[in-house]
């Protein structure tokens, strides 16, 4: 892995949908890291090094460096506006779509810097799925919503099976199984959120970025989504943003605490963060003294 400090700018132009680009992000070098507590050893799948993000002249992220372990759940917590969503968007280069955004630094996925010039952001996003903060189903049928990723990625599967399986895992199947041909926009807010989760997991991404996936869900649906995340973590890597401390404590293996101004204050095992954080500011934030 290169250690020289090269900064790459986002490349707004996207190259065409060439199937060979799928193999662009080869796992060249996977760094082995030992988590801070030293109890378990996992491979790092996403590693950011000195990532800075600006929106025009306002800096939204400052020098973020962290290593996200493979097949685990990493939670990001922090007050509103501290840059959690921005960081998620760095991982799958969704920031490319925002004209004002400028990303500097290096972000490795499986050892390959995704901001290298030869990386096709479309191919990248096929490996890194995303659930957005605001539910954004397409004005298409529920079925078509779930199958969208498979369709654009040209994956051929048994459609009925995938639809049912994805909706079941997203805890939505029972509510919509009789109206798969109705528009996804006719669902309630919480149902839309789960539909977006089903849509994101249908094409089997390696890394799943979830931006407050349970913000509009009742306790039962929330716990079903948490079960799903638990499940997913056996095969996939999940990065989840949440404002719910208990949720972060329940489901995540690692927790990153961002604080206002876009700095990453602490990143460690979840247990350590919640029981014995290094920083007083983190302790204040978690215990609710500071937001």
């Amino acid at each position: 892995m290169t250690t020289e400090d090269t900064t790459t700018e986002t490349v707004a132009e996207e190259s065409s949908n060439d199937p060979t680009n799928d193999d662009m992000l080869i796992q060249t070098d996977v760094s082995e890291s030992v988590s801070a507590s030293g109890t378990e050893s996992t491979r790092t799948i996403v590693e950011s090094r000195n990532v800075n993000v600006w929106y025009d002249d306002d800096q939204a992220l400052q020098d973020i460096s962290m290593e996200i372990p493979e097949n685990q759940v990493t939670a990001m917590i922090g007050p509103s506006g501290c840059g959690k969503s921005t960081f998620l968007r760095c991982i799958n280069r969704m920031n490319d779509l925002i004209d004002a955004a400028r990303v500097e630094g290096e972000l490795y996925l499986g050892g390959k810097n995704v901001y290298d010039a030869d990386v096709d952001p479309v191919a990248l996003r096929r490996r890194v799925g995303m659930v957005f903060q605001k539910p954004n189903p397409f004005p298409k049928s529920i079925r078509e919503n779930v199958l969208y990723g498979l369709k654009v990625q040209g994956i051929e599967v048994d459609e009925d099976e995938i639809v049912e399986q994805s909706l079941r895992r997203a805890a939505l199947w029972d509510e919509v199984k009789d109206r798969l041909d109705e528009s996804g926009l006719e669902l309630s807010g919480g149902q839309q959120q789960r539909l977006c989760i089903a849509r994101a997991i249908a094409p089997d991404p390696e890394v799943l970025l979830m931006d407050e996936p349970a913000s509009a869900l009742d306790p039962i649906a929330t716990s079903q989504i948490e079960d799903l995340i638990d499940d997913l973590a056996e095969q996939y890597t999940v990065v989840i943003v949440t404002h719910n401390m208990q949720q972060a404590a329940r489901i995540s293996d690692k927790t990153a605490v961002f604080l206002t101004g876009g700095e990453l204050v602490e990143f460690d095992d979840t247990q350590k963060i919640f029981e014995n954080p290094e920083s007083d500011r983190v302790e204040d934030y978690i215990t609710g003294k500071f937001g």
């Binding site: 949908n17 191919a123 996003r125 799925g129 397409f138 990723g149 041909d181 977006c196 849509r199």
Partner: protein, 556 residues
């Protein structure tokens, strides 16, 4: 007592003054009414001159009042009071019944007066083969895009070069109405099938609907030629008006049984009209001496008011609209998609956008000059594929194509000029529609790993399409009324029926202008011109109604 209560209430909440708001509201109402009243008065005036309803017997009015107006109002009132959506179904089917025959009439003029049935059929078959190739290729995933493009390109050229010739030289060809039935019925059946598939969610129903549509069209043609109505006319009426009405009725009957009673409204109207016509004929009441009659619609122009007809101008307008639609829609929508989705947000792009906005405001007579100078004069000898400046030094013959198309006042030049005129409007309204697609949906698509092209195709265009179509159809409505550019490119005032793209063409507004200037006798002013204006307005409103229906359909 009452004042006491009031003071206690106002002590509780206080009062908010709404005087300014109320005044503002009535000012706005007045502004709205001024416009609507002005247009309404114009319509009544012109309609009165063209139809002359007061010349009819009072008995005629009474008969129709009793058979048509009263039952319609009664049925409509009942349906409306039920408030279960059946009134809406009734209005929609009535509208369909009123507008689709107009479109059938437009299509019929083309088939009866301009396009020879066999030639049209042979080209339709050639195009059908190309479409079939495209569909077959789209299914297969193994062939690469480049190869597909090559195959389609070759198929297009080969098919268009050879197939029409082969078909036209066949020793036996079907009768004219059967050719028209196949040419028109096949695409109509395909669309009907696709519509039925999507609204019943069932392929089998779709196939049945398609087959029924084609069968119905052919049967109508046969019937029409047997009873002497004219096989071709019956075919076209069935394909353009019959199939959509039947599909709509079937959807209402089967898909929304609760609203099926709405279909009583059109039945009442049609039944009332037939009954009324029967009664006035048996009793012998005279109808209005309308100037706008069948003879006016289908007759050639004349210098005497009695014989003046609008048919050549009507056909000219239809031809022009066809060319304008074919040219300006793809170019305008393409430009809009490029500007919104691909063009970098640079100074140049901004400059282009500002200029398009300015072009939309350029007076139409200037476009006429452009058409005259560039198209009719410069390209009079055809498009220089190999200009003389290059050909001569090489010792070759210069190559030019389309020499007969360009020229003073031809259909083709007229259509191109009007296309240029509405192109900026088409671009701007399409851009507007594309811009209104929420960014969150684009993000959702990109986030799923879609390319830009996939996002545009699957997310942006489907969502923007109704808006794009509405804007472009309204732009077309502007083109149909334009007079100045056609005058400038030298479209003639007195003309025969345009037969091909290289014929000289007139149009309805031009014809009306000619009537008003050169043959401006009181007869013309009082009768012929109002009748022409009504035809023009009805044609324009029919086109706009499509836009209105589309907007209502897709906005909900």
């Amino acid at each position: 007592m009452a004042t006491d209560t009031r003071t206690t209430v106002s002590e509780g909440f206080g009062e908010v003054s709404r005087t300014v708001g109320t005044a503002f509201r009535y000012l706005l109402l007045a502004a709205t009414l001024v416009g609507i009243l002005a247009v309404g008065v114009l319509f009544v005036y012109v309609g009165n001159d063209a139809i002359q309803p007061l010349t009819a017997d009072p008995g005629w009015h009474l008969t129709f009042f009793l058979t048509l107006v009263v039952p319609t109002l009664a049925v409509g009132g009942v349906l409306r009071a039920r408030a279960d959506g059946s009134f809406r179904v009734g209005l929609e089917s009535l509208g369909l019944l009123a507008v689709m025959p107009l479109f059938a009439g437009g299509v019929a003029t083309l088939f009866l007066s301009v396009l020879p049935a066999l030639v049209t059929f042979s080209y339709a078959v050639a195009l059908g083969l190309v479409v079939a190739t495209v569909v077959a290729l789209m299914r297969s995933r193994r062939v690469g895009f480049g190869a597909k493009l090559l195959v389609v390109g070759v198929a297009t050229v080969v098919s268009l070069l050879f197939v029409p010739g082969i078909i036209q030289s066949l020793p036996f060809v079907p009768v004219e109405w059967l050719l028209v039935a196949l040419t028109l019925g096949t695409p109509v059946a395909a669309i009907a099938g696709a519509y039925a598939t999507s609204s019943w969610n069932d392929r089998r129903t779709g196939r049945i609907a398609g087959a029924a549509a084609l069968g119905g069209v052919v049967a109508a043609g046969l019937l029409g030629s047997l009873i002497g109505f004219g096989g071709t006319a019956a075919t076209i009426l069935a394909a353009v008006a019959g199939v959509p009405v039947a599909l709509y009725a079937a959807t209402a009957l089967d898909r929304h049984p609760a609203r099926r009673d709405g279909l009583l409204l059109p039945l009442t109207v049609v039944g009332g009209m037939l009954l009324g016509a029967f009664l006035v004929r048996t009793v012998g009441f005279a109808g209005p001496a309308a100037w706008l009659d069948w003879a006016f619609l289908t007759g050639p122009n004349s210098i005497t008011a009695e014989d003046a007809g609008i048919y050549p101008a009507l056909v000219g307008s239809i031809l022009l609209m066809l060319i304008v639609a074919l040219l300006s829609f793809p170019v305008g929508i393409g430009a809009a998609v490029y500007l919104e989705e691909y063009a970098p947000d640079s100074r140049l792009a901004q400059l282009i956008e500002v200029n398009i906005a300015n072009l939309a405001g350029v007076p139409s007579v200037v476009y006429g000059l452009l058409g005259l100078g560039l198209l009719a004069r410069m390209l009079d000898e055809g498009l220089p594929i190999l200009p003389a400046a290059i050909a001569d030094p090489l010792g070759l013959e210069p190559v030019r194509v389309g020499a007969n198309l360009f020229g003073i006042g031809t259909v083709f030049v007229g259509g191109m000029t009007l296309s240029l005129l509405i192109l900026p409007i088409v671009i701007i309204s399409s851009q507007e529609a594309i811009r209104s697609v929420p960014p969150s949906q684009r993000q959702a698509s990109y986030g799923m790993g879609a390319t830009r092209w996939q996002t545009i195709r699957n997310v942006v265009l489907p969502k923007a399409f109704p808006g794009i179509l509405t804007g472009t159809i309204l732009a077309l409505g502007r083109a149909i009324g334009e007079t100045a550019p056609l005058l400038v490119i030298g479209a003639p005032n007195q003309f025969g029926l345009p037969q091909e793209l290289s014929s000289r063409v007139g149009a309805m507004p031009l014809q009306i202008y000619a009537w008003a200037t050169t043959s401006g006798t009181p007869e013309f002013y009082a009768k012929v011109i109002p009748a022409g204006v009504v035809v023009l307005l009805v044609a324009m409103l029919a086109m706009n109604s499509v836009a209105i229906v589309l907007r209502n359909r897709f906005q909900s």
